[in-house]
Symmetry: C2
Subunit: 246 residues, 2 copies
Amino acid sequence: MPETRSCQAHALKLACSNCNILEFCLPLGLTGEEVAQLDSLIMQRVKVKKDAALYRACDPLRFLYAVRIGFFKTDVLSLDGREQVTGFQMPGDMLGLDAVNSGLYTCNAFALEDSEVCAIHFDHLEKLAQELPSLQHNLNKIFSREIVRDHDMLMLLGNMNSDERLAAFLLNLSQRLNMRGYSSKEFVLKMRREEIGSYLGLRLETICRGIAHLRDHALVEVSGREVKILDMDRLKHLVAGCHRFS
Amino acid sequence: MPETRSCQAHALKLACSNCNILEFCLPLGLTGEEVAQLDSLIMQRVKVKKDAALYRACDPLRFLYAVRIGFFKTDVLSLDGREQVTGFQMPGDMLGLDAVNSGLYTCNAFALEDSEVCAIHFDHLEKLAQELPSLQHNLNKIFSREIVRDHDMLMLLGNMNSDERLAAFLLNLSQRLNMRGYSSKEFVLKMRREEIGSYLGLRLETICRGIAHLRDHALVEVSGREVKILDMDRLKHLVAGCHRFS
DNA sequence: CGTGTGTTTGATGAATTTCAAAGCAGGTGG
DNA sequence: CCACCTGCTTTGAAATTCATCAAACACACG
């Protein structure tokens, strides 16, 4: 049974080799025909240059996007122009889920480095999901995961001090990179301090000071955008509700 | 064409008269047979006493719930016991969407007054949605709307000061009550100051002071939990990025 | 009428923002 | 190849906002 599954997953992987959303959103147990359908759905690759917008708030929804290569941020602007970063997306993450409600994107999505996405025609996706229950179920789960992620952010913004927020942010990046096969201890930040600050509800200066604190306590080594995590356990301990350094 | 639709919607309304999720999540253009299916899906009514939990974090997902009567809050607890209220739900709002990802609820849901919900068996819902494209589409939209709502909260927590947050909170309640046919100018808060504070990332004392500020500027009249909005426009103006009272 | 829960207000202190200035790195043109 | 921008980061000092602590108050309920 597991044999069959992993075999089909493999076929799928080959068929969809231009897209790595596999491990995140693809159902298993499909026929070759179905795989072909799925493949055609996500065939469109799109390159996005650093600092270019993949889409902007109020653009009509046509595609959902799965990041293939690179790094994105999504943000919303308040009426008076203040930016709120709502997320950072790395390979395998989805973009555009917020647009399904109204049919218009509610965020701006920018590439933080030269990137590539799979464009998934949303109408086609819904049609196909109609025929593939497991695809539909996975789509539901992807939506739900996004909600859970946002709840985590509410907790962070509502209850954590600046150092805890920063530690939580670094740990989150670390884990997500790790899941994707990269080092969890050393990585490079693709965003500016100001964007981290916006995401965490803090000013950029506060981010700098937070980094200095973590460094002073030998939890991390940071130079510019290069991060090395020195003491994962104490970092986790800090986030887990301990307001002070241990 | 609109005739047919509204007629069917009406049939649906009758069929599902025990549940008012209609206007929020039901697709139009269904056959009588389909209406019957949908009706059976949401037939289960559940009463929840004030302060009782509808479900708790880590309970396995069996149902989504649509609030029929009453008022709920959802919250998550951090490891060290701090509460973060993630939302307040009134009639027509859905509960439990966060659980679809893992199959376990991630929040606690409490009734803030004697309430009643429609329990929607999630597995059945997915099955039925498989057969009714418009139901599936609506489900997707409901998920997406929740994400948009959360993004609004991120903006609020990340970029607004305490008075702006409070004003935004009151306006949000006002609008949602209005959409449901209640007064947008006068209403009763079902939650304590502490719960408002948790939701807005503030302490309860700060909520009190914020209310005093709004009162001083003749924007609202508040006594206990009774709220009367005196100047909707200036309240909106305050939220729209004007850091100070106008 | 007392008790408990929830609300309000004041005084103080801590955390974060703001303002300011200097440092650093990468890219460009002389 | 160097000097000079420009954008980003870092650090310091002052100002502000919000949290904390404390006490009084209001109201409902037994």
